[in-house]
């Protein structure tokens, strides 16, 4: 999932200061799962914002809505009836959702309520960790299902480096060395010989090196 964290309240309050009526829009997908911008978080933030402004003697009217997905234009259309009644929109979705609202409603200021962080997985309740960088050329089949791009601090394709100590990364002892994990996994699979093969230098054009990316599926295009 795409993970996110709520921005500091001070920042949110500051960008809403000029407005009296806003639409606070959550998303039912990734940000719901990582507890950053689902229906529940929309309710809590709405309450916190209203109280913060009430304290200053100002009334902020907050309309709450949570869309099935903010990254699909079909769902963004659901805002049509609400948008004229508000002065600004605050989105609790990832950056994709914020941009979709901004693209659809060009005359309406849109603010992000969360910082979009990374593509990750839940390690345990309340803990999410980075697992994928969307490099566009997956090597997981070579590395025992552990990604050296997302999980090695240096993105080494042939590791580990000298900073790996007792399975931990020199960048932070809380970070597991991806290449230790890769070795452990290859050993468990009986594929130690794969570790001896050098992985060729990566073509980063499939990643951000080639500029903003787009996928076009001709069979689905309308």
């Amino acid at each position: 999932m795409i993970t996110a964290e709520r921005k500091p309240m001070e920042e949110l309050i500051e960008c809403l200061r000029p407005y009296h009526r806003i639409l606070l829009v959550g998303c039912n997908e990734c940000v719901t799962v990582c507890s950053a911008g689902g229906r529940k978080e929309v309710g809590i933030l709405s309450s916190a914002l209203q109280m913060a402004f009430m304290k200053e003697g100002k009334t902020l009217e907050v309309k709450e809505m949570t869309l099935e997905r903010q990254c699909d234009p079909e769902y963004i259309e659901e805002l049509v009836n609400q948008i004229d009644q508000v002065e600004a929109v605050m989105s609790m979705a990832c950056g994709c959702g914020v941009q979709e609202i901004a693209r659809r409603f060009k005359a309406k200021p849109v603010f992000p309520a969360v910082n979009t962080e990374f593509m990750g997985a839940s390690e345990r309740p309340g803990v999410w960790a980075e697992r994928c960088q969307g490099c566009g050329d997956c090597v997981l089949g070579l590395t025992g299902g552990v990604c050296p791009i997302a999980r090695c601090s240096k993105r080494l394709l042939n590791g580990p480096c000298g900073g790996s100590t007792n399975g931990k990364c020199e960048v932070d002892p809380d970070i597991e060395c991806a290449w230790q994990l890769i070795w452990d996994r290859l050993k468990a699979l009986g594929l130690e010989e794969r570790y001896e093969e050098n992985i060729a230098a990566k073509d980063w054009r499939t990643s951000r090196g080639g500029g903003p990316r787009k996928i076009i599926r001709e069979d689905l295009v309308k």
Binding site: M9, G43, I44, S47, A48, M51, A52, K55, T59
Partner: protein, 146 residues
């Protein structure tokens, strides 16, 4: 301010604090009428939004009263509730309402005295702290409009 009587919402677990309140009654113990009890099946049922809404709608303080550690009927509802209360405390500090307006209290069903004492202590603390800043301003505004 001198006449300020705080409104305090207490979310009380059915298995401990609510029964303790009953016990306090049976023991003829007095506690301030400022505390409004909401019975919940477990303190773990109390969500962050319930606490926020209580404060937004005019409560001066909220506390969640759950079972003693290890005594939760639903295993760890009280521990979950304590974590949520800690989260809300931080959020309230961030928006300048003050995290001290929200507390997590643990007690058993037999602790009638503790229930009465908690209600008295909390009422006294909030009396000193003054009204919920969000409520007082909106109410001032309302009275100005009259």
């Amino acid at each position: 301010m001198e006449n300020f009587e705080p409104v305090i919402v207490a979310f009380c677990c059915h298995y401990c604090a609510y029964t303790a309140a009953d016990m306090a009654g049976s023991q003829r113990l007095c506690y301030p009428p400022n505390v409004k009890i909401v019975r919940v099946p477990c303190s773990g049922k109390v969500d962050a939004i319930h606490i926020m809404k209580a404060l937004e709608k005019g409560a001066d303080a909220v506390y969640v009263a759950g079972c003693l550690e290890g005594d939760c009927h639903f295993k760890n509802g009280n521990i979950d509730a304590a974590k949520r209360v800690a989260y809300i405390k931080k959020l309230l500090d961030e928006i300048g309402i003050g995290g001290e307006r929200v507390e997590m209290i643990l007690m058993s069903a037999g602790m009638g005295e503790r229930f009465a004492q908690t209600a008295a202590d909390m009422t006294e603390k909030i009396r000193k702290l003054g009204p919920n800043p969000a409520k007082s301003t909106s109410m001032d505004m309302a009275s100005n409009n009259l």
